[in-house]
């Protein structure tokens, strides 16, 4: 068997590295092809999404059934995107080899959680012109203001803490998303969200941060048109592997249906071969067929042997220690059972507190108090099945709506001190509110009911953390802070800080119906 191709960190490459220049040349060639060609840039992006409300692109008389297939808010989010990027990479490599490019090319990844400048857009994507004065295909002006100048992604938007806090793939707020009965874009079943923690952060937040209002990355309909999209998703794919490596308890769903799931359109795979041919349904990849990237798909990542820096972050260590030390949450919360039930998608969630009026977000920080209902917690403590609780807490942001995506993520913090440090921000961060994809939820491109969004964040280990460090002493309430994420000024351009802060005042307000706290 040949050695697997190696996907490398783009920030370890020089701007003129052949991996990058060959990618740029191929992107240019793909952009020149008509959208009806499955190996074209437009067609590949349309598999992910294309706005059915926009005028048809030249060369097609109708939207093709293979388009608008992206899976979000679903436990198919990770496997679908792995397949999508894998087939795209094959198309790019095949073109490259045919045109004298590097035969060992693999798609680089953007590890925004790395060191140094990695939390800024990679250099090769920033400039309108290449060094030789010709147009740079990796550049687009349709990005958030100052992203192409090197604006810094907010630490809480790229944090891996909440995702790597998760011990299971499946479940509300779990790593990979809640069980979804069928591949449906932006699924919401019985009012329950299906998105996973990694999809929430960093995935959604980075889309908003890079795209900005009206940019390409801010909408699933246009995101894959930005050449950085593919490096972003290579990183999400890499983080899936990192989570699996983190602990032997971290496993993919064993569910037979999930494992056997293929993504078919009219009997064929939704994706295309490297030469643009159809893949018959009988040969289509299934989720079980993509679990081992090196063995089954022939690629690996350059840092497979190393632990993820995010996965060893201080907040994660603190939470693990709190759990090991059997730290209890302050009264009136139930005490930690001697042997908490294993996290399970079947767990019964009990509402223990909620806000009682809608919240409006217009770019300012909002803090609300959620009282914890003592009648409910008393019954949970005294109940016959108290010992069977998972001892898990969830924070649900319910009824999220906006006319369109304001491309403004909001960090969600629990009991954030009034005067906080950067370390406090990370330790109290539960996840983000991002409306990436709201347009598909409100006006589904396929025959589905429209709906707003709901986000479920598992805050168990966050509560462990703040209970252990003594900052959470009053269990009768939780203070939830929603704070707009603001990009940092590029290195050497501190003069842009005010301008960047101003971009956190979107003209599209977000309404939130309720913030609920649940216990299982």
């Amino acid at each position: 068997m040949t050695d697997p191709f190696v996907r490398v960190d783009v920030w370890t490459l020089a701007e003129d590295d052949p991996i990058i220049t060959a990618y740029a040349d191929t992107v240019a060639a793909m952009m020149a092809k008509p959208i009806s060609d499955p190996t074209s840039w437009g067609y590949q992006a349309a598999i992910h999404g294309i706005d059915p409300g926009s005028p048809l692109p030249p060369g097609v008389s109708q939207l093709l059934p293979q388009w608008n297939q992206c899976q979000h808010y679903s436990w198919y989010f990770l496997p679908w995107h792995r397949m999508f990027v894998y087939y795209f990479e094959q198309i790019v490599r095949t073109y490259m080899i045919a045109n004298g490019g590097p035969s060992n090319w693999a798609l680089p990844y953007w590890n925004y959680d790395g060191s140094g400048q990695s939390n800024t857009l990679p250099l090769a994507f920033r400039n309108q012109l290449k060094a030789d004065g010709t147009p740079n295909p990796l550049f687009t002006a349709k990005r958030r203001r100052y992203i192409n100048t090197g604006a810094v992604l907010p630490a809480t938007d790229i944090s891996l803490v909440n995702a790597f806090d998760q011990q299971t793939f499946t479940g509300l707020g779990a790593f990979g998303g809640e069980e979804t009965p069928a591949p449906v874009q932006f699924f919401l079943q019985n009012g329950q969200p299906q998105s996973g923690a990694l999809e929430n952060t960093p995935h959604n937040a980075v889309h908003d941060d890079v795209g900005g209002p009206g940019g390409l990355m801010y909408s699933p309909y246009t995101a894959a048109l930005d050449p950085i999209f593919w490096l972003h998703h290579a990183n999400i794919d890499r983080l899936w592997g990192k989570w699996l490596q983190q602990s032997q308890q971290h496993t993919n769903p064993s569910d037979a249906g999930w494992q056997a799931q293929a993504f078919l359109v009219d009997g064929n795979s939704a994706f295309a071969t490297a030469s643009g041919g159809a893949i018959p349904g009988s040969s289509a990849l299934t989720c079980a067929g993509i679990m081992d990237t090196a063995g089954q798909l022939g690629y690996k990542y350059d840092d497979d042997a190393q632990p993820s820096p995010g996965a060893t972050a201080p907040p994660l260590r603190a939470a693990a220690q709190a759990e090991a030390e059997h730290v209890n949450w302050p009264s009136p919360w139930p005490k930690r059972p001697a042997a908490p039930a294993s996290p399970s998608p079947d767990a019964v969630r009990h509402l223990v507190g909620a806000t009682d009026r809608p919240i409006r977000l217009v770019g300012e920080t909002v803090t609300v108090t959620v009282p914890i209902d003592e009648r409910v917690t008393a019954s949970l403590r005294a109940g016959r099945r108290a010992a069977e609780h998972m001892h898990h807490a969830f924070l649900d942001i319910e009824g999220i709506d906006a006319a369109r995506n304001p491309a403004q993520a909001y960090g969600v913090f629990v009991n954030l001190p009034s005067r906080f440090t950067d370390a406090d921000l990370m330790a109290h961060h539960a996840g983000n509110i991002s409306l990436f994809g709201i347009e598909l939820a409100r006006r589904p491109p396929t025959d589905r009911h429209p709906h707003n969004l709901r986000i479920s964040l598992d805050i168990t280990r966050l509560l462990d953390r703040i209970a252990a460090d003594g900052t959470w002493t009053d269990g009768s309430q939780l203070e939830i802070t929603l704070r707009p994420s603001t990009l940092g000024a590029p290195s050497g351009r501190e003069d842009l800080a005010t301008d960047l802060a101003d971009t956190a005042h979107p003209d599209v307000p977000i309404t939130i119906g309720r913030i609920g706290i649940y216990y299982a």
């Binding site: 388009w67 591949p183 209902d373 609920g516």
Partner: protein, 263 residues
């Protein structure tokens, strides 16, 4: 546009646990009430048949073209029957919303919230029920099988309107329920009212079919309940409403062709 397909079902083997099922499905109490409504309808139909009714009829509803009008009048005892029929026919489709209300309420006020939702929801249908006698008079003013065919055709046409689709989608919307105090009461009532209005917009035409149906009421009730529930449960609004429209048109033709369908 074709969508991706599920290639395999996912059988799950989990140990049955009754109390867990009840906690996960607080709407089971409402399901018992709906079942009781069906039992009452069946008993009434049985009694009607034993006492010489022309067909298996519905309480308070005509069992033949000759005697339908007055029985619909709330003053003549028709309103309780209307409520019974509403519970039986709309109940299965509304269980999801009732369960949502329970699951999103504090545990100690789940039943109260679900009751408030149900009262507000039923109030909408009761208000509509008050208009039914007038509709009955109009429908039965049309001679022969034309009345049924006309109502079925109107119902089929309504199926294809964007308003119908919007209402059907509205039935799937959740609500942000305040947890306690008067806001909680108001929230559950408002949710019930909103869901009832969307449900009315979705189903009013189908319920009018019951007015025009000349006999075999129990069969019509069961059949339309199946249609209403399927339309609510299946998550493809455009294809489902179209399929139901075709079915209603077919029934309209059949009514005209056979004179009196199911009589």
């Amino acid at each position: 546009m074709a969508s991706t397909q599920t290639t395999l079902s996912r059988p799950r083997q989990r140990r049955f646990n009754a109390s867990r099922v009840l906690l996960r499905h607080p709407e089971l109490g409402a399901a018992v009430v709906i079942t009781a409504a069906w039992v009452a309808l069946l008993l009434e139909a049985y009694t009607s048949t034993r006492t010489g009714g022309a067909a298996a009829g519905m309480p308070g509803m005509g069992t033949s073209p000759a005697e339908p009008h007055d029985a619909w009048s709330p003053a003549a005892g028709g309103l309780p029957s209307w409520v019974l029929m509403t519970v039986a026919m709309m109940g299965p489709a509304t269980l999801g919303a009732i369960g949502y209300t329970g699951l999103n309420s504090l545990r100690w006020r789940r039943r109260r919230a679900m009751a408030e939702f149900s009262v507000a929801y039923l109030a909408v249908w009761v208000a509509f029920g008050l208009l039914v006698p007038a509709a009955t008079a109009v429908v039965h003013g049309i001679p022969g099988p034309g009345a049924l065919a006309l109502v079925l055709t109107v119902a089929a046409a309504w199926q294809l309107t964007p308003v119908k689709r919007r209402c059907l989608s509205g039935c799937h919307l959740g609500a942000s329920l305040p947890p306690r105090g008067w806001r909680a009461e108001k929230g559950a009532l408002r949710f019930g009212l909103r869901n009832g209005l969307y449900c009315l917009g979705t189903c009013w035409c189908l319920m009018l079919v019951m007015v025009a149906a000349p006999g075999g009421q129990l069969l019509w009730t069961a059949g339309l309940t199946g249609v209403i529930t399927a339309e609510r449960v299946v998550s493809r609004p455009r294809s489902t409403t179209r399929a139901v429209a075709v079915m209603l048109l077919f029934a309209a033709f059949a009514a005209l062709a056979t004179g009196n369908l199911l009589q």
